[in-house]
Symmetry: C3
Subunit: 138 residues, 3 copies
């Protein structure tokens, strides 16, 4: 029984840039040769999130549209009135979508659906280098 | 120390069908006779979610109403324009609500509130057979 | 390898009271002297949530504003029509935001961003004493 931890660095464009990190996560997991357990994927920071979706261009636009309802990028935020960062919407989106997913691992494979990818969403209002932590618990 | 994994099959009607899976999860957990640790409940797929709620008919309607604000079922989605599945709203809801919950286990009991049940939400636009994975980490 | 569990009691004012629990979680973690693994922070109950955010007054107001879009506190809820609790919005918010976060632990430190705190959100419509469970998996 162990917790094995790896790190992935991902460069993003910000502005709700959505990046498929499934292959990178699988590469981390496979090198440990663990068959069964669970995998935790976490992005460090308060303006980014990790979740899963079917990674196709239509849905990437659809999820951006939904996030515009919840935390519009054009709204005036109290955060920005005070700090002038202009990324109040980024913080709110990250807090609501969350920083991590946990996925079962069986027979060495992540137990995702056929049309289900792990995505990093970078909500910040500038390009960022993001640290993703991948942990295998077995 | 171990990760013990079980699977539950749940038949749903789709269309944001909400099913109380608390008893099924408890049955999985209890057969291992583990007293302390944590439990991970995960639904496979990109059009379903797992969370917790007080399972009573009023709230089931209330959460459906809230999801209609975030990702209306009547809206035109880019996903559907391309793929004609008609389930763009299902994918967006699943990505935002998430596929799993983690719950502490103490003295053999899930540490839920008195009015708190584990629910499967099937957002797809058809009946589905869903695989729920239950993992006990101790 | 072990799962170590602690409990924190937090008194809240309800009404989307948002409390920074980062230091309390760190105190729990540090006493075990575990260097590497992961930490699970969970609030018991169906009208509260745990997530992370930059804890500054502007964003606390901004996230309350976003939650008013998703589950307005002034709306009439089916839950309240039946049970007259007046906290239908509290349940919906909790189900959508979630009860827990999982955070990597490396070199004895929670792997959070510089501007990222762990928060308890109490959505209920009255003051509550909340049980937070902190679990270190290593």
């Amino acid at each position: 029984m162990a917790v094995l931890t790896d790190k992935i660095l991902v460069n993003t464009k910000g502005y709700t840039d959505i990046i498929d990190i499934t292959n990178s996560v699988q590469t981390c997991v496979q090198k440990h040769n663990i068959k069964d357990g669970l995998v935790h994927v976490f992005v460090i920071g308060s303006t980014a999130s990790v979740t899963t979706i079917e990674y196709e261009p239509g849905l990437l636009q659809d999820i951006k549209d939904a996030l515009e309802i919840i935390a519009p990028s054009s709204k005036e935020y109290h955060h920005d009135a005070k700090w002038h960062d202009g990324n109040g919407f980024s913080h709110v989106r990250s807090a609501l979508v969350g920083n991590s997913v946990v996925i079962p691992l069986s027979g060495g494979a992540l137990q995702l659906g056929t049309w289900q990818q792990i995505i990093l969403l970078d909500f910040d209002n500038r390009a960022r280098a993001r640290n993703i932590i991948v942990q295998v618990i077995s």
